[in-house]
């Protein structure tokens, strides 16, 4: 198939690997890793060293994210969380600290932008304070490596004694609006990784949160494993650093969390301790009781896994209010105490878990991941990308994009009707959920024999990048006998009328999510009128909202769409009847 590469610069303009590494070495030679209170307390030179000790001792470690806006609140928060946990006989090993986005921008560009009100460090002293409040090891994830300011931030963080630094994944998905400096960014990315490589024997570990990057965009977990290998290939094989892959936000199936942890360990050649496993936040909602159940379910799995196969990953107690607000100190403590109880109870489970099955599942993912990895690397070689140049590989992967990688090189079996043209070896939690909804809907419909939409042509699409709703509907319509023409995602109004004509359809279904339902519907009807297609039935579903009358908040617009004659039932269970009635 044709690979569309959305290049933002010519990768041949990148400096060669040797000069990048030489620059990095020069910078690294001026750095000495600082000592945090935590290192002093535990007599270690890095967090990695501490993790290795804990793995040997069979001790579970814990991680908490801190997202307060200014330094004094953060400092107070550090103290209170640490002290209150000590008082309660509990513990915490590491804080994940979120920096303001402007920290990801080189200093000489910052005055052009409005900072986001998060943490900003200006001097080395301000940076160093991060490890000098309480003996809890700081971790820096976002707006570090992979931002536009990776080298500076890495130098400062190492100087402050932070030895686990993120976030490889950030390079692929986070954009700094108004700063299109992709060439600069890629060079900075390589250099920051090379600086971390210089300190690998001192315990420097690069963290990458798969769920933040392209990882979240894959449908097949095997490809996600292959993707992790690609990130390792760039940072470890080409630049000599050590990598730890974080995951968890999007893993709703508790056992899958264990399987995936095993797979991550299997692809790690250097036994690098993990940073942390993030909490399963897709199951968090507005109902605290249910969130409580989710916290227990995922943390138990993460703990049992670390007991059986210690891999250094800290467990993350996510406060129950996380989906609603920035959690208070009390809410952080509450989650920790919950997890402490899970740590107590986990050993009862460990013995009865079928570890053989878990390991064989993990091996399936790794085998698929290897296939994906090999295909991607070979294809890049064929496309003329220098596969021994870290920057060329990273920028090409970014320019190709997760979806194309998965469609073209995915490990799953090709199947014309499958989403992205392949049946996943093991679907991600999101895909599992979608498949379940689809199967439920289809099983409720009693048209197996009659297939009420036989001979009916339908055009389908989504107004934005969201494709899950569209996929469910497509499956239902096909099952009902319809001939579905899929325009894919980010469909433009301008292409619908002509497609209706070429397909001979008089029904168009648009799924929408991004708050443009009203304008899209209105423009669509206008364009249909222009093309003399007034008889076409328009159905819209998904999130039918849009900010109206200059307000910022999107409001429900389904009644307005309905007044214009658009079907807004938004009900997958009745959609077949509705379409059948058009043609009666």
């Amino acid at each position: 198939m044709d690979i569309q590469i959305k290049r933002r610069f010519n990768e041949n303009e990148l400096p060669d690997m040797q000069s990048v590494v030489a620059d990095a070495e020069k910078i690294a030679s001026g750095i000495s890793i600082g000592e945090t209170l935590f290192m002093k307390k535990h007599g270690v030179k890095s967090e990695g060293e501490y993790k290795r000790k804990m793995m040997k001792a069979g001790k579970i470690t814990k991680h908490t994210h801190i997202g307060w806006n200014d330094w004094s609140t953060t400092e107070q928060g550090f103290k209170r969380v640490y002290e209150e946990l000590e008082k309660a006989g509990s513990f915490i090993d590491r804080f994940g600290v979120c920096l303001d986005w402007i920290m990801g921008v080189p200093e000489n560009y910052r005055d052009k932008f409005q900072a986001g009100g998060g943490l900003i460090f200006k001097t080395q002293d301000e940076w160093s304070a991060i490890g000098q409040v309480v003996p809890v090891q700081p971790h820096l994830g976002d707006h570090m490596i992979g931002s536009l300011n990776g080298v500076d931030n890495t130098v400062n963080a190492l100087g402050a004694g932070v030895t686990t630094i993120g976030n490889l994944a950030h390079y692929y998905t986070y954009e700094y609006p108004g700063l299109d400096m992709e060439l600069y960014r890629t060079e900075d990315y390589m250099k920051a990784i090379a600086i971390m490589a210089h300190f690998k024997d001192d315990g420097a570990i690069i963290h990458s949160n798969l769920d933040d990057g392209y990882g979240a965009q894959f449908h097949d977990l095997a490809n996600l494993v292959g993707w992790a290998k690609l990130e390792r290939y760039i940072a470890e094989d080409l630049l000599g650093a050590r990598v730890s892959h974080c995951y968890g936000n999007l893993f709703s199936d508790s056992m899958l969390r264990i399987v995936f942890n095993r797979a991550m360990t299997m692809i790690d050649k250097y036994d690098t301790p993990g940073s942390f496993v993030n909490g399963n936040t897709i199951d968090y909602g507005m109902d605290i009781s249910r969130n409580y159940g989710a916290l227990c379910a995922y943390s138990l799995a993460d703990i049992v896994c670390q007991m059986k196969y210690p891999s250094g990953y800290a467990v993350a107690p996510v406060p129950l209010t996380e989906a609603m607000r920035v959690p208070s100190v009390e809410e952080i403590l509450e989650a920790h105490k919950t997890i402490d109880m899970m740590i107590e109870k986990a050993p009862y489970y460990e013995k009865f878990i079928n570890w053989e099955k878990i390991n064989s599942e993990a091996e399936i993912l790794v085998t698929g991941g290897n296939a994906f990895f090999e295909r991607v690397i070979n294809a890049m070689d064929d496309l003329g990308i220098d596969i021994n140049h870290a920057g060329q590989v990273a920028s090409a992967l970014k320019a190709i994009g997760a979806e194309q990688l998965e469609v073209a090189f995915g490990a799953g079996l090709s199947n014309k009707n499958a989403m992205r043209g392949r049946i996943p070896i093991r679907p991600t939690s999101i895909i599992q959920t979608i498949n379940k909804i689809r199967d439920d809907v289809i099983s409720k419909q009693r048209f197996e024999e009659e297939r009420p939409l036989t001979g009916i042509n339908i055009v389908l699409g989504s107004t934005d990048v969201h494709e899950f709703g569209k996929e469910i509907i497509k499956n239902v319509l096909k099952k009902a006998g319809a001939n579905v023409f899929d325009l894919g995602t980010t469909v433009s109004v301008a292409e619908i009328a002509d497609t209706l004509i070429e397909t001979g359809s008089n029904v168009v279904l648009m799924s929408t999510y991004n708050g443009i339902a009203y304008s899209f519907g209105k423009n669509l009807l206008e364009s249909l009128k222009e093309a003399n297609l007034e008889g076409v039935h328009v159905i819209m579903g998904g999130r039918l909202n849009e900010p109206i009358d200059g307000s910022d908040l999107p409001v429900d617009v389904s009644h307005m769409l309905k007044e214009m004659g658009i079907n807004t039932d938004n009900n997958v269970e009745t959609i077949v009847d509705v379409i059948a009635s058009f043609n009666r």
Partner: protein
């Protein structure tokens, strides 16, 4: 065989390029006033005599002999599809890539009035297309019925939704019209399949239509079928872009061929989204040709000046409108007119500049913000912003003192940036020896030789 004799039958000249294949060199070139309107063989024998004189009897006898033809402005086609952005665009791409010129295109359900337009267009082949596989049938059957009732006596190619292909063929045949079937040109959303249609068009051109008298005796002298000149140039440009086994190609290029009646633009680049814009419409072919029938140095200079505006054009040349009018009349009446003074030279130069400027802008894609709330950039057509080189070919370019400034007209100006998808900077090369057609013919037999003669003509070696 050591030599190749390659001939192009144009409406003004019959041109000859003689190549030493082993040495990969052009050994002789010549041209003679065209004889296609009464007996093409006369011009051919003049060319052959010149070749024989250059390489000797024996070499001539064993030489590979091939020809292209662009006589009478080339192959004229009409395209009838269902929508402008999908089936018509795909049909145009297929026709252009086969070397044809579109004289008429119609979208949607055609009426009696439309039929008159088609009948009046003097098309030589009609392409009927539209409908994805399993898609529209009603519009196709309607159009076939209407067309079958017409006075048209030209072959019809059907490359639409295959589910009604047989019905459509029956409709035409029952009215005594020839109908050829090709695979669906747009089988599904976002897929394009122009090759089967283009092959049939070329086939028909070779066997039926070459618009020249004496084609039979010419064909007998040749070792291969007579090819439409643009089809040969399209192939030559592709070779320049990709290179050969031993030679690296030039990468993303464009070719401009400015003739008396038409200006052809060719581009060789994979269509990519500009700045993340959503690409809509039918997919763009890698090697794309377009031809502008109203952009030329002679016959169509009148249309070109009209498009630019007489006043505008005269001002730009620093001449009066009356003088311009006379100058253009001269060009349309005597199409073999050769400029004889400096004011005429300026006029020719400006016609050429506008021909390149306008034709390139019609060939290229463009982007526009289309849906306010989504603030989405929509791209129609082919993104040529990363084209690195333009190659000029054709008489005017070779005879011009300032070919570079003519060809640089493909570049966008500041106001077009981020809207029209043409490059900001471009290298200019000129086909000084007029060998592109010859290289296109020779490519099938010896790629290395074909590539080398182009390199020489472009003064790269």
């Amino acid at each position: 065989m050591r030599f190749a004799v390659l001939v192009d039958f144009g409406s003004t000249y019959t041109k000859m390029v003689c190549v030493n294949i082993e040495e990969r060199k052009v050994v002789a070139t010549d041209k003679y006033p065209s004889t296609v309107s009464y007996d093409a063989a006369i011009g051919l024998y003049q060319c052959f005599d010149a070749a024989r004189a250059a390489i000797g009897d024996e070499n001539f006898r064993s030489a590979l002999k091939l020809a292209t033809s662009s006589a009478a402005g080339g192959l004229r086609m009409a395209v009838v599809g269902l929508t402008k952005s999908l089936s018509i665009e795909a049909g145009r791409n297929a026709s252009f890539s086969a070397g044809a010129k579109i004289v008429c295109s119609m979208a949607g359900l055609i009426s009696e009035a439309d039929l008159e337009t088609i009948e009046g267009s003097e098309a030589e082949i009609l392409l009927l297309c539209g409908g994805y596989e399993g898609g529209n049938t009603h519009g196709l059957l309607h159009n076939a019925e209407v067309l079958s009732e017409s006075k048209l006596a030209i072959p019809v190619i059907y490359s639409g939704n295959s589910s009604v292909a047989r019905d459509i063929r029956r409709i035409f045949i029952s009215k005594g019209k020839e109908c050829f079937l090709a695979e669906n040109i747009i089988p599904d959303v976002s897929s394009l399949n122009i090759k089967p249609t283009a092959d049939i068009i070329r086939e028909l051109f070779m066997n039926r239509i070459t618009n020249m008298k004496g084609v039979g005796s010419v064909q007998k002298e040749m070792d291969g079928p007579i090819v439409p000149t643009p089809a040969a140039i399209l192939s030559a440009g592709e070779l320049l872009c990709f290179g050969t086994k031993n030679k690296t190609g030039m990468g993303t290029i464009m070719v401009a061929d400015i003739g008396g009646a038409t200006t052809d633009i060719y581009s060789y680049i994979e269509n990519k989204s500009f700045s993340g814009a959503k690409i809509i419409g039918t997919p763009e072919p890698f090697a794309k040709r377009t031809v502008e029938g109203d952009m030329g140095m002679r016959e169509s200079s009148i249309c070109l000046v009209k498009e630019v505006g007489e006043k505008n054009f005269a001002e730009r040349c620093g001449i009066s409108e009356i003088f311009l009018k006379e100058a253009i009349e001269k060009r349309t009446t005597f199409t073999d007119y050769i400029v004889d003074d400096c004011r005429e030279k300026i006029i020719d130069h400006n016609i050429a500049c506008y021909a390149v400027n306008i034709s390139a802008r019609r060939h290229a894609g463009y982007v526009a913000k289309e849906f306010s709330s989504g603030c989405r950039l929509v791209q129609r057509g082919k993104n040529l912003t990363e084209i690195k080189t333009i190659v000029g070919t054709g008489g005017i370019i070779v005879n011009e003192d300032d070919a570079v400034s003519i060809l640089e007209n493909v570049r966008i100006n500041t106001s077009e940036k981020g809207h029209i998808l043409l490059p900001e900077k471009i290298n200019v090369l000129v086909d000084w020896d007029y060998v592109l057609f010859a290289a296109g013919l020779l490519r099938k037999y010896d790629e290395e030789a074909a590539f080398a003669i182009m390199e020489r003509s472009l003064r790269l070696i």
